[in-house]
Symmetry: C2
Subunit: 152 residues, 2 copies
């Protein structure tokens, strides 16, 4: 089920974008994620695949782990995960295990996004709000890959 | 494409079973995994969801991270991942990112296994050998859940 975007969603997606910028500055594909419970940030993550030399260190994975360890416990049904890019199959699978209540994402990922590759990966109760600040999220990714191509 | 089981597969699956037993002793759902490159173990993992308070700490995730950091780099196309239980969607997604060359697993997971939930989650080049030492792998899991039920 898709939910409408609220002012709060815009607020938290802006924060996720700031985390994505942090990834950008570290030379990582710029993706940022937050896990929020009752307006409180329980966990943050930005893509650290290169920094940690760990292909599983996606923004969502790190944010989920942080949220679980930061008081959320093993299940996060009352939490919303904000992420600047549509989650991949791995991250959607992690959301399934933790039963994240709601997913809000920015840019779509035509190539690796779970909606195309594994549409049933999420928990059936997880609500989804796609396309929040999609342009800003996509623009940051495009800028990153443009720089890579140009070797800047 | 499914590949035939070899003596080497039995050898490494035995080792994965030993890691699963380690998980069992720590009170974790007993699953163990290995990443092998040219007969050499590059990474090991056993389920540590409870120990690390991290729902993403599946045996395969830990073995993949260890293999990448232990000399494998970001991609593992020449590696075989041995795991005592069919991977879930999250772990299959992690295998996709790292392009694991071959997957050998023991017991099937009717409920959470990727083959039912997200059959296209793996990299298209990944070869799969299911059912290696399946009974021993399943028996360990059954014993664990039996003890849980009995409150032993």
């Amino acid at each position: 089920m898709e939910l409408a975007t609220t002012e709060l969603d815009l607020h938290f997606m802006q924060q996720a974008l700031r985390l994505a910028e942090q990834a950008y500055e570290a030379g990582e594909v710029p993706v940022g994620a937050l896990v929020v419970w009752k307006h409180r940030i329980l966990g943050k993550g930005w893509n650290q695949v290169e920094t940690l030399q760990d292909p599983t260190a996606h923004a969502e994975m790190l944010a989920i782990t942080a949220a679980c360890q930061g008081g959320g416990g093993k299940y996060l049904p009352e939490c919303t995960l904000y992420v600047t890019l549509e989650p991949c199959v791995m991250c959607a699978g992690a959301m399934k295990w933790t039963q994240v209540g709601r997913l809000v994402y920015g840019a779509s990922d035509e190539k690796y996004g779970f909606t195309r590759k594994a549409p049933e990966a999420l928990h059936p109760k997880t609500q989804v709000s796609p396309g929040v600040l999609a342009e800003a999220c996509a623009e940051l990714l495009k800028a990153f890959f443009r720089e890579k191509r140009l070797g800047i």
